[in-house]
Symmetry: C2
């Protein structure tokens, strides 16, 4: 059981009220891959520049991560900088230098063509389609997107949505994509576009899963020390799809557990800059937080 | 088992994107009382003006609500007007005419002096203290407050907090009162001020209970049609304290159930203008929504 995941690998500069981190390995695919690798094998499709050195590669080493699909192109790696407000609830983008990511044409190694789960990270919908076209066999297509593609390439995005099983976006993106403010109505509208499931993350407020007529909601794990929210949604996706990759059946109990593992990985991500906390996790810590979320949210019948 | 509850009764003008309601009976005590009366007897301490007529009184009739402690004073009833933004997440106060509420001196009928629960609704802390002083026997002291008293009468508020068992505020108020942005840290700071429990409502994001070292969090029931959020927090308090009033022991399971009943009553409140939805509830509907919240939030062990 493995995941083929495509997305961005970047070098990030992150400023928060608690400090600053320069040139840390980020990008949506990095967070997704590190989180998912605790559950399953992850085959990466991405591009980095010549400045992406051995030190940078270490984030992927010693994990269930395959890098055959990572192209080393001439030029610089995608760079992003962001600064968070005092309560970490809003952020300003300081710079976005796409560099080698601008000309990225995902190309799958032959060994990636049969995948259990294909995860299409946030990128131009035509690249997402190109990846789908290169996969000959798959069980589940998961995808992410963002406001930029909803606004600028809506038709391409619709084409990807038609071929997706599970859309993972944040609540603001779900609202924008559907034109519905109410999240239940937004989910119903999106389910008509193709994906039979919507997983909506809600930042520090938790997440919701809409699966046909079933709705599942979980509150965010209340951290005492939040350091850096960068990548929390991507880490959520990694935990969610990573857990699902191991499971032959997508029954309700399995999907709900996957949301909790998503929530667990998202919450760990926030505890340190970049992927630092995710990198040093043990699986026991992951299970322990799963149980804590259960203890935090469960109540008895009346 | 009964509650003595003090607070405001008002005539409200409410504007939302879905319509307008004029001169509806509102005020924090009204929502609290109607919600709590589904669970227990509620004895009201409040003041209304001469313009508060028989039509207005109907909201309290045929319920487990005692009105002996409601004074009919010369002058006009407290009036409040508010207008909500398109997504109901923010509101502007159009007017606040305190009228008879400005000179309110709560006076408890003799029959109210022995109470199971005393609930001190949001008002000047010195009035909350005066009510406490008039009660000779009580099991639980619950209280609410708001930014105005946190800013203008902090010492009086501290005096009430010292004598309270359970503080019910929204998350923004908990942050302001404690000076801590993180809700866990805010709760710990508030628990040092007196109340051994904090119940923090979080609008459309749910609520949390902090009870000594135990934390319980529940997501808000995802309504498809939200009409008017006025009074949702007070309805939550009514459901929460109303349920507790029937229970001799405040064990963890009971407290968690109380939070769910609070959440149930808050969610119903939002479904129509003012108290309209709360007024026409059946207890079966309340139990059904309790079970739906359980279905919405529960997941299995790993």
């Amino acid at each position: 059981m493995s995941i083929v995941a495509v997305g961005s690998i970047a070098l990030d500069t992150i400023k928060t009220p608690f400090g600053q981190a320069d040139d840390v390995v980020g990008g949506s695919l990095t967070y997704f891959a590190v989180a998912a690798s605790y559950f399953t094998d992850v085959n990466l499709v991405a591009v980095v520049g010549k400045d992406f050195n051995e030190q940078h590669m270490r984030v992927f080493e010693g994990r269930r991560i395959d890098l055959q699909g990572v192209e080393h192109a001439r030029g610089k790696t995608f760079r992003w900088g962001g600064e968070y407000s005092y309560n970490l609830n809003s952020r300003e983008t300081l710079f976005t230098d796409l560099n080698v990511f601008e000309q990225f044409q995902p190309s799958l190694p032959d060994s990636y063509r049969e995948a259990d789960i294909v995860f299409l990270g946030n990128m131009h919908p035509s690249l997402q389609l190109s990846v789908l076209d290169q996969v000959t066999s798959k069980r589940i297509v998961g995808m992410d997107s963002m406001n930029l593609w909803i606004e600028t390439t809506p038709q391409h995005l619709r084409d990807v949505l038609k071929r997706a099983d599970i859309l993972k976006v944040d609540d603001a993106e779900a609202r924008q994509l559907s034109g519905e403010y109410n999240l239940r109505k937004a989910a119903a509208a999106i389910q008509k576009m193709g994906p039979r499931m919507l997983v909506a993350t809600r930042g520090s407020h938790g997440s919701m899963l809409f699966n046909e007529d079933d709705i599942f909601a979980v509150t965010a794990y209340p951290l005492e020390d939040e350091v850096d929210p960068t990548g929390a949604g991507d880490s959520f996706a990694g935990g969610f799809f990573g857990y699902l990759a191991q499971k032959p059946e997508l029954d309700q109990a399995t999907l709900r557990r996957a949301v909790i593992f998503g929530s667990v990985m998202g919450s760990f991500c926030v505890e340190d800059f970049g992927t630092r906390r995710l990198e040093r996790l043990s699986f026991d810590e992951i299970l322990d937080r799963y149980r804590r979320i259960k203890q935090l949210t469960h109540f008895e019948d009346i």
